[in-house]
């Protein structure tokens, strides 16, 4: 397969995300401009100019009309997808680490870092109308986090609960009506970099710095599978059509310059969902992979790396013909 290399960022990619239909691919990096691309031919539709610092997280609502980004410049912004105009801006007290539209896109969540004497907090906001009053509105719910900070978050249960992944490897389920902890589980020993749903939102996969990715049942918050590697996992995604997961990772960015590319092992790794066995690798990046995403049709996937490139891979027949031996 010939990957499309999207070279629109000047710094490392932090997150990539497809929209619901998969025709657009959004990418964010530590430079201050999230980009949006046509996933089919790699044509850049535009850039969202307005952030002043690294963009840590992005999300797009399910109708692909609103785009949200949060960054290190203490702001969470809402954009119009079609024009790239900033429509809403929320100023926060500390950097925004993760942001996500709810399933219905009536609400959104963003979390802030524990920094500048501010505690880590989860904010739920109403995003139905984005106008001038948006930036002044009070959040629907604030959940201050006393313990380890939130590093990734997911909406669950048709917007009734939230699942947060923490720096110490803990996963907590929150009830939004009361703002209370429902359930918690500590299966990881280190920072959870990324959490992604499977197609029908019954299971989610976590990617952790402790060299593993784990599959959890969402309802009971039960550990189902563990995918072991020998390096930190930065991102993991579940194929919507096959029982495959793809993991992206690599050694820590700060160690990259002191070792050879070969030692870094910067390839995306395909594991069988059920048997937890690795069956394929795709090379390409020359830095750790920070974010992976499957196209909603399962026929291609994209990875964004520390090298600043997004690579869109159209999976070829050898992948689809491959039968896992068991």
């Amino acid at each position: 397969m010939k990957p499309l290399i999207l070279n629109g960022h000047e710094r490392t990619i932090t997150q990539i995300k497809y929209n619901r239909e998969g025709d657009l691919l959004f990418s964010a990096s530590k430079d201050n401009k999230p980009n949006v691309w046509y996933s089919l031919n790699g044509e850049r539709l535009g850039t969202f100019n307005g952030h002043q610092g690294a963009v840590w997280c992005i999300d797009v609502d399910w109708t692909t009309t609103k785009f949200m980004s949060g960054g290190g410049d203490n702001s969470c912004k809402i954009w119009d997808c079609a024009t790239g105009k900033e429509t809403g801006n929320i100023v926060t007290q500390s950097p925004v680490r993760s942001c996500l539209f709810s399933y219905s896109a009536n609400m959104a969540v963003y979390t802030t870092d524990k920094a500048m004497k501010q505690p880590c907090e989860i904010f739920i906001i109403d995003v139905r109308t984005i106008d001038d009053s948006f930036s002044k509105q009070e959040p629907i719910l604030r959940i201050p986090i006393s313990g380890s900070r939130v590093s990734s978050i997911l909406w669950d249960n048709l917007d009734e609960t939230l699942i947060s992944g923490h720096e110490n490897g803990e996963i907590i389920q929150w009830d939004l009506k009361t703002g209370k902890k429902l359930n918690s589980i500590t299966e990881h020993s280190q920072l959870i970099n990324d959490m992604q749903w499977n197609k029908d939102c019954t299971m989610f996969i976590t990617a952790s710095k402790d060299h593993t990715a784990k599959l959890f049942d969402a309802q009971k918050l039960m550990l189902l599978k563990t995918y072991k590697t020998e390096r930190p996992v930065n991102s993991a995604a579940i194929s919507p059509i096959a029982e495959h997961v793809v993991l992206g990772g690599g050694q820590e960015a700060m160690e990259v310059t002191t070792t050879s590319t070969r030692a870094g092992k910067f390839d995306s790794r395909f594991f069988h969902l059920v048997f937890e066995e690795e069956f394929g690798r795709v090379k390409g990046h020359f830095g750790p992979i920070n974010s992976v995403a499957f196209h909603p049709d399962g026929k291609s996937y994209a990875s964004g790396g520390e090298d600043g490139y997004v690579r869109v891979h159209n999976l070829d027949s050898s992948y689809f013909d491959y039968n896992f031996d068991y």
Binding site: M1, K2, P3, L4, I5, L6, N7, G8, E21, D23, L24, K33, N35, W37, Y38, L40, N41, G42, E43, R44, L45, G46, T47, F48, N49, T63, T64, A82, T83, G84, K85, D267, F270, E277, E278, F279, G280, R281, V282, K283, G284, R311, H313, L315, D316, S318, Y319, Y322, D325
Partner: protein
């Protein structure tokens, strides 16, 4: 609704001398864009790092796809931000077609290693318990500690064991530091081996088929001799370089009767424009 896409398939072509002669004026000719039978060909000229004129031809395949309305609508969106000035189609500055990469499939080699280690660990964990096997009764204790040691069972089994032990200890005698080929090691065992060999020869009766044609393959040969009965081994002599048949083959039948049958029927049989010669396979160096 149809939406138009440009799939980039770029190629860079250095200008030929003919192009350069044409351009001797110095200025670069304007870029051209031709759309013909589903391909958009964009030709551009520019100076490369060595101040040489370079002609770049990019060929795009125009694809029409039927997509949902919302996707088609998004395809018509105007570019914004840094891409506002870009033309329709991918901008080569931001979109590059990468080199071919392949998914490297991993056979369970790595996984195989692990269970093996685990197996060893397990064995270590078990200790001597299951590793030890009594040569007399086959249970898991040392032979010397066998409860059947001085009983009939042991006596029955002893002679072969003793013989084996004697045979094994012979070459390790101090005098035997010189290399002795296995066939010459301790006479008694050899003779018994020889007897076994003879037996084996009787059991698997080898025949030699000669005057085979050069194009004969293993499969042909198998088909030829299969009808006579079960075959133990089949050897077709082939040239090392060409892989062609050298003209003869050995077939080891399981039963002597089958082999004899094969010889009578196949000797003189016309096979692939040649007449076969079939006989018992004779040992090369008869003692």
């Amino acid at each position: 609704m149809p939406a138009t896409d440009y799939s980039p398939a770029m190629e860079e072509v250095k200008s030929s001398w003919a192009d350069e002669v044409e351009l001797e004026g110095g200025a670069l000719p304007p870029p051209t864009e031709v759309v013909e039978n589903g391909l958009k060909i964009v030709t551009e000229y520019k100076f490369n790092d060595d101040d040489k004129k370079v002609k770049i031809i990019r060929t795009y395949k125009i694809e029409k796809r039927i997509v949902s309305k919302s996707i088609a609508l998004r395809k018509t969106w105007k570019k914004f931000g840094e891409s506002a000035g870009d033309k329709f189609g991918p901008n080569p500055a931001t979109t590059i077609v990468g080199e071919d990469v392949y998914m490297q499939f991993i056979s369970s080699k790595e996984e195989d290693m692990k269970p093996e280690d685990e197996g060893i660990e397990k064995l270590k964990g078990l200790g001597d318990k299951n590793v030890v096997k009594c040569r007399t009764c086959g249970n898991d204790h040392w032979t010397t500690k066998c409860p059947w040691k001085d009983t009939v069972l042991a006596d029955d089994k002893k002679p072969p064991m003793a013989a084996g032990a004697a045979g094994g200890s012979e070459p390790s005698k101090p005098g035997g530091s010189k290399y002795v080929p296995p066939s010459l090691r301790d006479g008694g065992a050899k003779r018994s081996d020889g007897a076994n060999m003879g037996k084996r020869d009787d059991n698997y009766c080898a025949i030699r088929i000669a005057n085979l044609s050069g194009s004969t393959t293993d499969i042909d040969l198998e088909e030829l001799v299969k009808p006579f009965g079960p075959i133990h081994k089949l050897y077709l002599a082939k040239d090392k370089q060409t892989g062609l048949c050298k003209g003869f083959a050995y077939i080891h039948f399981k039963f002597k009767a089958d082999a004899a049958n094969a010889i009578t029927l196949l000797n003189g049989y016309g096979y692939d424009h040649l007449i076969l010669q079939v006989d018992w396979s004779k040992p090369v160096n008869n003692q």
